[in-house]
Symmetry: C2
Subunit: 161 residues, 2 copies
DNA sequence: CCTGAAATAATATAACC
DNA sequence: GGTTATATTATTTCAGG
């Protein structure tokens, strides 16, 4: 991964509809080698996918709730089951295992508080949780899918990881 | 927005590289009307953009930190300034104004704890914050950009909002 | 608003230096 | 890495239901 790959990634994180020829121009390459780089980045899994980003408000997903969870059990089996259950909820868009006070943190997306309560009820019914605390977001001030590329380690010989 | 638009959105949220002809087939349309629907969804802003999703680990953005912030001032001017500053940090990928105990919540993405500390220092140097609390994620168990479409309100006459 | 055909323009992909 | 073909797709147009 070198400087040019980084530039390409930056562009594709911004706008994945850019034509390869456009990207090539901006990066200072001709289209074929640029295309080959993009292929490689996809094969290596650096680029995982290309997706459409929707406007949450326009699909009635206006409210974000952060759900802090403290659990009873800490077994691997319990976590497996928990992950499975959470995976079934399309309203849960992010799910982290945390250090410290809270064991897990969920970001849940719903149209309103009532819908959140329904999700909450379904969730605690499916799985045993010791303690749940919900925090509501009033406003999403920033949201991006763009990873910071400032920490990328560049290499002359594009290695995989 | 009708049932077919919803299907289209579902597909494009999954994979934005699908050819219009493919989508059309899966949705049960021929390509021209399907293409027109996609155009319309873009014009209406339901589809905001198409982006490449990178593997955080492969671009050295392995660590997620949630930063809870309590502020000194609650003025609109302060928030404007705060938003501006936060916007300059590519490491801050999500930023919410919260209700309740915490005023703001940030999701910060960095390679490691040391890098987080550097971000933290830069941040509190640029802006006056009363209280900051950082929680580290040990593992990202789920992350998706797909909004749940179960709450979409369908209409015979595709209206804008 | 839909189907389907058909023509054109843009782009991706492949072959070759 | 570049240039030049070729194959796919997107995009537009048209006739008709």
């Amino acid at each position: 991964m070198d400087r040019l790959d980084k530039k390409i990634l930056r562009l594709l994180q911004e706008d994945a509809t850019l034509a390869v020829a456009d990207i090539a121009k901006r990066v200072g390459l001709s289209t074929t080698p640029c295309w080959r780089r993009i292929q490689k980045l996809e094969e290596e899994g650096v680029i995982k996918r290309r997706v459409a980003i929707l406007d949450p408000a326009k699909v009635n997903a206006r409210v974000t709730v952060f759900v802090s969870i403290r659990v009873a059990s800490h077994s691997a089996e319990w976590l497996r089951r928990f992950s499975e259950v959470v995976g079934e909820f399309p309203e849960v868009v992010e799910f982290y295992r945390m250090s410290g006070d809270v064991d897990y943190l969920l970001r849940v997306v719903v149209p309103d508080i009532a819908a959140y309560d329904a999700v909450y009820q379904r969730l605690i019914q499916k799985i045993d949780i010791r303690d749940v605390s919900s925090s509501f977001a009033m406003e999403q001030i920033k949201y991006t899918t763009q990873m910071p590329l400032d920490y990328l380690v560049l290499d002359k010989d594009s290695r995989e990881s």
